[in-house]
Symmetry: D3
Subunit: 136 residues, 6 copies
């Protein structure tokens, strides 16, 4: 029940093909590595190109390692209930070495944080002065 | 503008003092280590005791290291806009070694995930069969 | 830091005064019973009139008693982190008899539900057939 | 499309069986009373044990009656769009006596609160001094 | 897997029929123009009547044109992940002239706003004085 | 209570100055046109550069006019309760011609959509076949 037609490589316009080619080169994969997320974004080529640049830059190894970035991605996706992103980023995390036990701990932290977020917001708890990185 | 009176140690009932004592023993801190979150939860002692047990268990070292757990906590808190939890868990992450660069990357991933969550939900993108851990 | 000027009774247009009059008559209160929510909505009179009708109808006694309706209102407002609504509906609940202990239990349920919502969404748990009120 | 294998009683490890046994004893039900939520959490036994303790304590009769607690649970689950929790807690509420009319009123309050939450947040309405339980 | 039975015109009580008749007259459509949203709300006639009045008033042409209102509706529905509302209001927007390119730009803005909302909330950025419409 | 130090032009590193310069050139403004959002993002230069590129591209005139894009931005920001973004994008919308009446209608649509999103999700209403742009 996609809102748009998924664009396959063979049917893609040149600027879409260019993104698909860069994605395959970057990830070292073939056409089957182009998942539905990109095929749907291809319905609006400027969005496809922009998001691919964003993902390539943000998810690259940096001061946080790639697996930790995927765990954070799953945490946000679970909080927002994005079915697609939960599946795709959990798969990416597993491919980067996430164990079953780590997945269980990840969801435990996500659940707990969602609980205490509401307790802190519901009780309207004032932030302790010592937590503020700067004086106001 | 807290909804409840913050309970100081000196004014606390025995079951609240017992939690405060365990918290100080677990964290190796003094009375100034009891932050406002606990003082607010102390207005309802069963919640204080329950949440303290939850936090102690879930945030303990496991297959994920404690810093990664704090990063996940911040990611959820930012997504939910919990001011208290952003401040308290970012402080905890810094205490466990989070660098400024890691904090920058953390927020970048959180921002990107919130963006792509809506693209995936908005386009109603079907999950690729290869991402599913089990056949339906 | 309101986005709009709060409209006091003395400065109000006739259609705004009509809502304020009906609100005071319905609640048996004076001008000080017109809280800031209504004074802000008065910046757009059709919204003021519409929302007042909605609130009057939905929050009236029905098969759920008015206190239970206020507890539900607070539960939603905490989940969405609406500071104004948490304060105004918690005050309304206290006025209808909510005890400190009930407030504590309310937040405990809200926190727990926010936690298990993410566990159920994160694990993508299929709904048990026996929970469905209708066969698909 | 669960992220984890659902664990049946016959296949469960001892600490999972212990939770299942306590759940059946507490609820006075048989194996068919162990719904998918618990079978999915059983993939991470510490989460199963912790959440079961949480649910048992928080949802027990207290100053709020069990039906009211279920209504609050449904209100949060609808706000967060947790399909599983809407179904399971609406079923629990019906089992505790929720009428069709009460369900209709519940959703009406949830819808209204979600509407006015955004009006209050969007207009950035300052909280009336009289609503604050404590002077700042 | 609806929570309630969808009410067809032939089976409807008089107050439900009255809303259906007004909806068909307002929209210039036949029975097939009564979509499932209304048939589900008909399970609680006061909600059906109230929401129909709300929709009729709020979505009528005003200072914003009807297509812009539908785009805003889709933006909110995508942010909240309401599958039903995304489909029904995207269909309404297309019927009012939304092009494929406009839909692509709409989702791009929605995605970007969800990203920067979290950056602004995560960094706890103070609002510039010049953005405030009123001095505090 | 910002989480990071706001970076003024005079204190900025070259890659931050480059973004500030491009922002001033694009918007035809001086240093006072660099609002706190950018000064906070400057704490992590890759995020500053990336988000500025995103904003420049997505918010440029296209098939949707710039005012409509700002209205959509405000709608998302209100739904997510991002105080900073509500203020900054409402100011941008006013600068592009948004009237008080349009702001009132915008919030009315946002409020209504948040209400009906929960009714549709709460009743689990099946999507009408005629709304789907593609057969499944």
């Amino acid at each position: 029940m996609s809102m748009v037609k998924l664009i396959e490589y063979a049917d893609a316009m040149p600027e879409v093909k260019a993104v698909y080619d860069d994605l395959m080169a970057t990830r070292g994969c073939g056409l089957d590595g182009i998942n539905n997320f990109w095929k749907a974004l291809a319905s609006h080529p400027p969005t496809l190109a922009r998001i691919w640049q964003d993902v390539k830059r943000v998810m690259a190894p940096g001061e946080l390692d790639p697996l930790v970035k995927e765990l954070i991605y799953v945490a946000v996706s679970v909080t927002n209930n994005c079915e697609y992103c939960i599946h795709s980023h959990a798969a990416a995390a597993r491919a980067k070495g996430m164990t079953d036990g780590q997945f269980g701990e990840l969801l435990a932290v996500v659940g707990l944080a969602n609980q205490t977020n509401r307790l802190a917001n519901g009780y309207r708890i004032p932030v302790d002065a010592r937590f503020r990185p700067f004086p106001d």
